[in-house]
C-alpha cells in the first residue's frame, strides 16, 4: 500500500514537471443576442428538465403513499429504476425512434446513442433537448407503476419499462411531436403531452392493471370491491406537490425556449390544477359527506394532465373550465373503474392519466383560441367553442384514438408475452407478506409496529 502510494507520488511529480498544463480557455468570443438567446434557452430547458426529472419522486411518493406500507420500498425502487433504465434506453434508441428522420411519419430512424461533443437540435443544444425528452419518457413509463402497484413482479416491471421507453412511447411520440410525424402533419395538437405522455402512460397502466389482475383481497366473490387504504397521506400529498412543481417544467418547458409565452402557459396550468382539486374536493364532499383528501390530490393532478395538451392554446378561463371538468371526471372515473370496470388501479393512474389525457386532448379541439396560440408563438387554431368548427376536434379525436389503439395493442402484447414467460404477478403469499420482503428482502419501516388489520397484520 505504502509503496504503491510512493510510486504513484513520484511518477506524478515527474509527470507534473514535464506537463504542459492545459488551462481552461476563456470563451473569448463576443456575446451576441443570438448566442445569449441560446444560452438562455439552454438554461431554461435544462431547469425545466430538472423539474420534470424530479417528478419521478413525486410519482413514487404518490404511489407509495396511496398503497400499503408493506409495498412501499418496492414502489420506491420501481420509481428509481424506471427512470434509470428509461434514461439509458431512451438515449440509446428511444430518442432516435421518436425524433430521428421520419420513416413515413410512423417512426424515426436516426440519432441513436448520441455521443457528440456538440450538437444542435433546432437551435437548442441537442443534449438539453434530449435530457428534457428523457425526463418525459421517464414520466410516461412511471405512470404504469401506480396502476400495477402492490402485485407486479419487479423483474417484469423493469422489462416493461424498457419496452415502453424504448419503443411504445417513442413511436407514439413520433406521430405527434416529430416534424414528420403523421399526426403532427395532420395538425393534431398536443402541446406538452396529454396524449404523448399521459394517455400513453395511462393506457399502459390500464392494460397492465387489467392483465396482472386485481390485488389479493380487492374484489369479493360477489364482485363487490373492497377499499385498501393508502398508508401515508402526507407522503401522497408531498408527491402531488412535487408533481405539480414539476409541471412548471413540463408545460412551459415544452415551448423549448424562453419567451413571454411560458408565463401564459404556467398560468393556464395553475388555474386548471387549482380548479381540478377544488372540484374533486367539492364533489367528494357532496357524495361522501366529507371532503376527501386523496381524491382532491388526484383532482389537482387531473387538472394538470388535462391542461397539458392545451396549455399554450387556451385562455385562462378555458383552462379553469378544463380543470373543472377534469376534477369531476376523475372522481367518477375512479368509482367507475373500481366498481364497474373492476380493474384494480390502486392510485387512480388510469383516471388521472388516461381519462384526463384523453379529455385534455379533446379539450384542445373545443377551447383552442387562435389568439392565444398566436401570442404564444405556437399553432393558431380555433376550437369548436371559439368558432373553429369541428375540424380541430376531429383531429384531436383521431390522434387520441390512434394513440390509445397503438398503446393498447403493443402494451397488451408486451404484457401478454411477459405473462407467458417470466410472469407478471406476485403470487398470493408474496402479496400477503408484501412486495418489499418478497421482491427485495427489505422492510421499509422496521422500527415501527405495524397495525393489526382485519386481514391480520397489514
Amino acid at each position: 500500500m505504502k509503496k504503491v502510494l510512493l510510486v504513484v507520488l513520484i511518477t506524478a511529480l515527474l509527470l507534473a514537471l514535464f506537463a504542459t498544463p492545459v488551462l481552461a480557455q476563456g470563451d473569448g468570443e463576443a456575446k451576441t443576442p443570438d448566442s445569449i438567446a441560446t444560452d438562455l434557452d439552454t438554461v431554461w430547458v435544462l431547469l425545466a428538465a430538472a423539474l420534470v426529472f424530479f417528478m419521478q419522486a413525486g410519482f413514487f411518493f404518490l404511489e407509495g403513499g396511496l398503497t400499503r406500507a408493506k409495498n412501499v420500498a418496492n414502489a420506491m425502487l420501481k420509481g428509481v429504476m424506471d427512470f434509470c433504465l428509461g434514461a439509458i434506453i431512451f438515449w440509446m434508441v428511444g430518442f432516435g425512434l421518436m425524433f430521428g428522420l421520419s420513416r413515413g411519419g410512423f417512426v424515426g430512424s436516426s440519432g441513436f446513442f448520441s455521443n457528440l461533443a456538440s450538437a444542435d437540435w433546432n437551435g437548442l443544444p441537442l443534449y438539453v433537448f434530449l435530457l428534457f425528452q428523457i425526463a418525459f419518457a421517464g414520466a410516461a413509463a412511471t405512470i404504469l407503476a401506480g396502476g400495477v402497484a402492490e402485485r407486479f413482479k419487479f423483474s417484469a416491471y423493469c422489462i416493461a419499462t424498457v419496452v415502453i421507453t424504448g419503443f411504445i412511447y417513442p413511436v407514439a411520440g413520433h406521430w405527434i411531436w416529430a416534424q414528420g410525424g403523421w399526426l403532427n402533419r395532420l395538425g393534431m395538437l398536443d402541446f406538452a403531452g396529454s396524449t404523448v405522455v399521459h394517455t400513453v402512460g395511462g393506457v399502459c397502466a390500464f392494460v397492465g392493471a387489467w392483465m396482472v389482475g386485481a390485488r389479493v383481497g380487492k374484489y369479493n366473490p360477489d364482485r363487490s370491491a373492497n377499499a385498501i387504504p393508502g398508508h401515508n397521506i402526507p407522503m401522497a400529498a408531498l408527491g402531488t406537490f412535487i408533481l405539480w412543481l414539476g409541471w412548471y417544467g413540463f408545460n412551459p418547458g415544452s415551448l423549448l425556449k424562453a419567451s413571454p409565452a411560458i408565463a401564459t402557459i404556467a398560468m393556464t396550468t395553475t388555474l386548471s390544477a387549482a380548479a381540478g382539486a377544488t372540484m374533486a374536493m367539492l364533489i367528494t364532499w357532496g357524495r361522501y359527506g366529507k371532503p376527501d383528501v386523496s381524491m382532491s390530490l388526484n383532482g389537482a393532478l387531473a387538472g394538470l394532465v388535462a391542461v397539458t395538451a392545451g396549455c399554450a392554446y387556451v385562455s385562462p378561463v378555458s383552462a379553469l373550465i378544463i380543470g373543472i371538468v377534469a376534477g369531476i371526471l376523475v372522481v367518477f372515473s375512479v368509482e367507475f373503474i373500481d366498481h364497474k370496470v373492476r380493474v384494480d388501479d390502486p392510485v387512480g393512474a388510469v383516471s388521472v392519466h388516461m381519462v384526463n389525457g384523453i379529455w385534455g386532448t379533446i379539450a384542445v379541439g373545443l377551447f383552442a383560441q387562435a389568439s392565444f396560440g398566436q401570442a404564444n408563438g405556437v399553432a393558431a387554431v380555433d376550437g369548436l367553442f371559439f368558432g373553429g368548427g369541428l375540424a380541430q376536434l376531429g383531429k384531436q379525436l383521431l390522434g387520441s384514438a390512434s394513440v390509445v389503439a397503438w398503446v393498447a395493442v403493443t402494451a397488451g402484447l408486451m404484457f401478454f408475452i411477459l405473462k407467458k414467460t417470466i410472469g407478471i404477478r406476485v403470487d398470493e403469499e408474496g402479496q400477503r407478506v408484501g412486495l418489499d420482503l418478497h421482491e427485495h428482502d427489505i422492510e421499509a419501516y422496521p422500527d415501527f409496529q405495524p397495525a393489526i388489520s382485519e386481514k391480520g397484520v397489514s
Binding site: 377499499a227 357524495r287 361522501y288 359527506g289 372522481v331 375512479v334 387512480g348 393489526i452 382485519e454
Partner: protein, 112 residues
C-alpha cells in the same frame, strides 16, 4: 393475589389512572389492544369505496392486587372507565399464584 384485567376505551385511561393513583395502586401495565364485542366497528370511506374496521382500539390495563384490595380496584375502574354506551369494555379477574420483584427477588405480597 389477583390480577385485574380491564379492557376499556383509550380515552378513559387518564381518569382510570387518576382513580387508581388515589387508591395507591400505581403499579400497572397497559397494552394497546383491539377489541370486538357488542360494539361493531365502524365504516370508513376510501376513494369512493366503503370499508369496515371491525376492531376498535381498546386499552388493556393489568394490575395485580392483594385479595383484600380487589373490590376497591374493580370499583375504581368501573367508575372511571364507564361512559354508559356500548363498547365500555370488561374487567376479568384472575388468580395469581405468585409474584416476584425482579429488582430484589422478593416474592409474594411483598412484590406487589
Amino acid at each position: 393475589m389477583r390480577k385485574v384485567e380491564a379492557l376499556f376505551r383509550p380515552e378513559r385511561l387518564e381518569p382510570v389512572m387518576e382513580e387508581l393513583g388515589e387508591l395507591g395502586y400505581p403499579g400497572v401495565t397497559i397494552t394497546e389492544v383491539k377489541g370486538h364485542g357488542k360494539q361493531k366497528g365502524v365504516t370508513h370511506m376510501w376513494r369512493g369505496s366503503e370499508y369496515r374496521v371491525e376492531f376498535l382500539p381498546k386499552i388493556k390495563l393489568e394490575v395485580v392486587v392483594l385479595d383484600e384490595d380487589l373490590g376497591k380496584v374493580v370499583n375504581a375502574v368501573v367508575r372511571s372507565a364507564r361512559t354508559g354506551s356500548i363498547g365500555d369494555g370488561k374487567i376479568f379477574i384472575y388468580n395469581v399464584d405468585d409474584a416476584i420483584r425482579i429488582r430484589t427477588g422478593e416474592s409474594g405480597f411483598q412484590a406487589i
